[in-house]
Symmetry: C2
Subunit: 679 residues, 2 copies
């Protein structure tokens, strides 16, 4: 049951599309402040808190104060309050009650989950106008599904987007892109996507191509598609201020950019230098911006990633004008010139993503003009929506790949997200795993982290361990930044066989992974499931923070510490350990319920099969299009195991045809019986 | 066996005081480059690498490139190359050979331990002149002890310094200090030290006291000492440039500050504003600077912490003068004023701890003038030495507490270190544990991290878990920075009993912990021992990165993940689990060799006793002076267990009197038999 409680006049974020009742009086469990901005409830010793999507710390979010405020902060430290997204849904579950809570409010929201006081949850919005949705009925898993139903079906990408992708800031030319493709092909490692970071553009101008470096993007795209590889370019939020650049000129003439209080376009600096931000909260401007993606679609591009859309601001023009004469002012008050400049260190160090700048510009929304900070958290997701809505107009029957850095609940219907600019840290490998269930609860199924880590030098062993997690996650992309050690897998000759196994196994497992993804998307379910949800009665399972169920059959337990030869794994029931040593050779071992230390060599992939379940394996392929659902091998544990297998053409949007469902049943090992529903 | 190999003309860091042979020809195992600056050796798959003291990552240092370059970097991230110290000793151990390597070189040294190539160790110095000491004979533990013998006895603090200390940046007045003392006494939590951070000084001037806030430091010190609490003030490296300030004036007139190339004192900005750095590499200047500590010793102060001595530089005067007119220059070349200022963001963001600044000033060393970067890593440790040598002159028979942020091997004879400005991160709790063995190998026994974390808001559960590690470490200090959540233990009423247990247990265990420390110091042994050293034949023990032996009898395995109710522990042999629920009530349970999941509540302390060993428990006390070695309770596992107990007066420097040793033997549980050697 879902009930909505309204405080003040909430801004309609359009997050909710499903049914709910209007709550009478006040919500149960919560104390609501007179202001209608603060909601609190006591936490019992055994309570756990799930959700919040893209945030730091564990699967259980208890013990920290999180702030929903979309932020370009690459460090993702334990003590970060905010990452790129605002996912205001959480679940409180304990011995006496379980409920979900969605705080529909597009401004800053603080979730103090037993941080200030260990036994108190307090949620507070900065601004007024809150719609609160209280979800009840069943355990945490049921609550998560009910909420997902409320917010509508998650974005579904084309199947090729479940392939492996290679990214780098940047591949600077068509030739460099060709070398990456060749590197993978020659190493025998499958590849489906090569990502283009900001340098494919001319002067970082959205919807342009640097034709010196990429003389014919359409031809390059077609050439690579012949090999099963798609180019996925980046689109940034900021539109460069440049006379003669049509996106800029049209946006200005139509009034489609975010505005200063005086109605002039707000100007900030990001990669292109001075930019304006398209007002994607204005439906007309959103449609206009979305239509620009056609420039690239028409060159054969079928996927995009939206970036810098918190929106990130290096500095605003207004702030830099304020500081321009500051040195002289301070000299006039008696400082020497070096002292005056030195005294500006703090101001010069805090120019980026300043709250004061976010308070200085405006949107034209359907609800009237809104100052940016009041709707800040909708910006990035609305850029995704701009693209998603445009794709639906342009090619309604075709899936286009789309994912974003910034997001809010609601934008999960238009695109996926990646978890932003992480680091080549072992702790971020674990964070990658821990973020998945919360993201799924908040609607983001097509998601993943930059494998190997974006910032800082990766190490070969970290990359190996991270790939052996990444192969199970929907968005499987290896990405790294300017100046750090190269991360293309073919560059590590000693690990080539291991990477061939890890990426190759992704393609062998694709029927299972894709099927689980599609069922999760179509049934408002989780793809990545915490053990706490699957075994809510098992006190140990409820504590496990480093294992996940991937769909119904497979439990993963990646190694995430350097120099470790294995790790501890908790089995909440008897399971079958599956150890892949090569793509064709694997061992199976049945392990009893309980605690185990499992050895996992750097060049192996180990996972666990749940009893009574199975997972179909394809013969693999060099790209997703080569993977078929014919001649599946069934990994199974238990003779009677059956599996509801979803398989479609992977590109069209006719998801619900019953013919997409087949039942697979384990007979003798490695033998599949296909059976249509009703047979 | 230790052999020394010389390349070029090494600077004598005075790290080595013990015996060695001169190696003939070239060292075994290593390939030495023609330049004499690069040393490499292949790493086998099973090789592990230990040592490097204060560095990031695991106990086993394999898999990263570390740089010895003392750096004021508070983040201590996984991808940090350098922390505050330069500890150039490592041990390579594997199936075919085990050896230690000390690279005596006071400039920048890179240790690439299987990072660039997984199977290659490469050590390279930036400058010329290297003395290489190769240590062989026995396993890694024997190698560590041989090396420790080479570098001389580790610093020994007074016994009261093994009490618990509370610190904060800052306690701003005598009254605030009194409140802290009263807070602890009223909560019934023992306390031995209150630390004074930079605000006790007048204008951050070393050896001055802000007499408005601290009207009579001597009286305050005496008053607190009556309660068993000592004040421990900070001393920073930089001496404020201020006419009339005698440290500044004397230093200038005697030429005792580091100098620019033209012989004028080098000027940089740190907390006091412009400062000069005392040239502690010049023995005369070192003696002069050390003598200034008497100003505080004469006010009853008996302990100090030396800070900012990498030396940290916010910016140099020369650099700020360079940048002063830069905006105007850039405007002259066509930029608007805001653009010109904006273009200086990078320069303004990279002012601190610049290599160019470290290359711009000079020391007068016994070997002649040396540019700072060539001897950079000696600076902080030489400041410690300045104090330590002064104390030995001033009060040769008395122990003075002294520890430093920056250090090098050699300065371990003069003082301890703390591991610098860490963060309130769970990962830094684990790092605290992982750094201990390497620090011990490099001579630093009196050491520890800021418990609860220095930077960012701690959480109550993190503080609880960290205290239950900290109670086993020699330097047990809780410290936090300006503006973050208060960390004084008495401020957490719900955890008061738990903190009383954790700190109280420190005092109950003091006979054991102090005895183990003293034996480690006097016998060049490790206080904190990796399981890999204790059980070198046990492949699983060699991998354990989150447990330690504290001395011979106790193994610790702290919980270091949020919301965990316990953790996995590996027992390399049968052990006795000891679970303290209150100071008086504990359970014992014998566990078999192997893997165990152990529950540990937030308010408990759990550790393990090795079979055939025992640990004496005192009755505790509110401060160290109240702890006696009378009526010891013996925690023991095995009836015949015996323990060599070291106990002295805790303040004098007559360490080696045989009367300090007593043998304790376990008879019936909780009953001690004292026995003098030879009885």
């Amino acid at each position: 049951m879902i009930r909505k409680y309204v405080y003040g006049t909430p801004f309609d974020t359009e997050a909710v599309v499903g049914a709910y009742d209007l709550g009478a009086d006040q919500p149960p469990w919560l104390t609501v402040s007179a202001s209608g901005r603060r909601f609190s409830c006591p936490l019992e010793e055994e309570d756990q808190v799930y959700g919040l999507g893209e945030q730091v710390r564990g699967i259980n979010k208890r013990g920290w104060r999180y702030v929903s405020w979309c932020s370009d902060d690459p460090y993702h430290l334990e003590t970060a309050r905010s990452l790129y997204a605002a996912h205001n849904f959480l679940i409180v579950t304990g011995p006496t009650r379980t409920f979900g809570l969605f705080v529909e409010h597009p401004g800053r929201v603080t979730f103090d989950i037993g941080d200030t006081k260990r036994d108190l949850l307090t949620i507070e919005t900065e601004g007024e106008g809150v719609a609160l949705y209280l979800v009840e009925g069943g355990g945490p898993w049921e609550i998560a599904r009910s909420f997902r139903k409320l917010i509508g079906r998650s974005y579904i990408p084309p199947r090729w987007a479940f392939g492996y992708g290679q990214s780098r800031w940047s591949y600077f030319s068509a030739d460099e892109v060709r070398q990456v493709a060749a590197g993978y092909r020659e190493a025998g490692i499958p590849l489906d996507m090569i990502y283009l970071d900001i340098d494919y553009m001319e002067g970082y101008k959205d919807f342009t191509v640097n034709t010196e470096a990429f003389p014919d993007l359409a031809a390059l795209s077609a050439e690579l598609k012949e090999e099963g590889i798609r180019l996925v370019p980046i689109i940034d939020a900021g539109v460069k201020v440049e006379e003669g650049y049509p996106v800029y000129e049209e946006g200005v003439s139509k009034g489609y950019f975010c505005q200063n209080e005086d109605g002039t376009p707000f100007t900030a600096a990001v990669w292109p230098g001075w930019v304006h931000f398209p007002d994607v909260l204005n439906p007309e401007a959103r449609a206009w911006f979305g239509d620009w993606y056609r420039v690239l679609l028409d060159q054969g591009i079928e996927g995009f990633w939206n970036d810098m859309n918190e929106p990130a601001i290096f500095y605003s023009r207004a702030r830099m004008e304020e500081l321009a004469g500051e040195k002289e002012k301070r000299m006039a008050s008696g400082k020497t010139e070096p002292e005056a400049l030195a005294s500006m260190r703090e101001e010069m160090g805090t120019l980026s993503n300043r709250l004061e700048d976010y308070r200085s510009f405006w949107h034209n929304t359907p609800a009237g003009p809104m100052r940016h900070d009041a709707v800040h958290n909708l910006y990035g997701g609305s850029m995704t929506r701009a693209a998603g809505e445009a794709f639906a107009r342009y090619a309604p029957d075709k899936r286009i790949l789309l994912f974003s850095r910034s997001s809010y609940i609601g934008s999960h219907r238009y695109g996926g997200i990646w978890t932003g600019d992480n680091y080549s840290w072992w702790s971020h490998l674990l964070l990658n795993l821990q973020q998945m269930p919360g993201l799924n609860m908040c609607g983001f199924l097509y998601t993943g982290a930059d494998l190997g880590g974006f910032g800082a030098d990766t190490t070969e062993d970290l990359l190996l361990r991270w790939m052996s997690l990444g192969l199970f996650l929907p968005l499987m992309r290896n990405h790294s930044t300017l100046g750090v050690r190269r991360q293309e897998l073919y560059r590590y000759p000693d690990s080539r066989a291991a990477f061939r196994l890890m990426v190759g196994l992704r393609y062998r497992l694709l029927p299972y992974l894709y099927s689980e993804f599609m069922k999760a998307a179509l049934r408002d379910d989780l793809y990545a499931r915490p053990l706490a949800f699957v075994y809510p009665e098992d006190d140990m399972a409820r504590q496990v923070e480093d294992q996940l169920f991937i769909g119904e059959s497979i439990m993963i337990a990646p190694v995430y510490t350097q120099n470790a030869k294995g790790r501890y794994v908790y089995l909440p029931e008897r399971m079958k350990l599956v150890r892949f040593r090569t793509l064709e050779r694997w061992d199976e071992e049945i392990l009893e319920k309980g605690h185990h230390y499992i050895s996992v060599a750097l060049d192996e992939v180990v996972f666990f099969l749940r009893e009574g379940h199975l997972a179909p394996l394809s013969a693999g392929g060099a790209c997703v299009e080569q993977v078929t659902a014919e001649d599946l091998t069934l990994l199974s544990f238990g003779d009677g195991a059956a599996y509801e297998f979803y398989w479609d053409d992977g590109v069209s949007t006719d998801y619900t045809d019953p013919a997409h469902i087949t039942w697979l049943r384990a007979g003798s090992p490695k033998e599949a019986f296909h059976e249509h529903p009703g047979n």
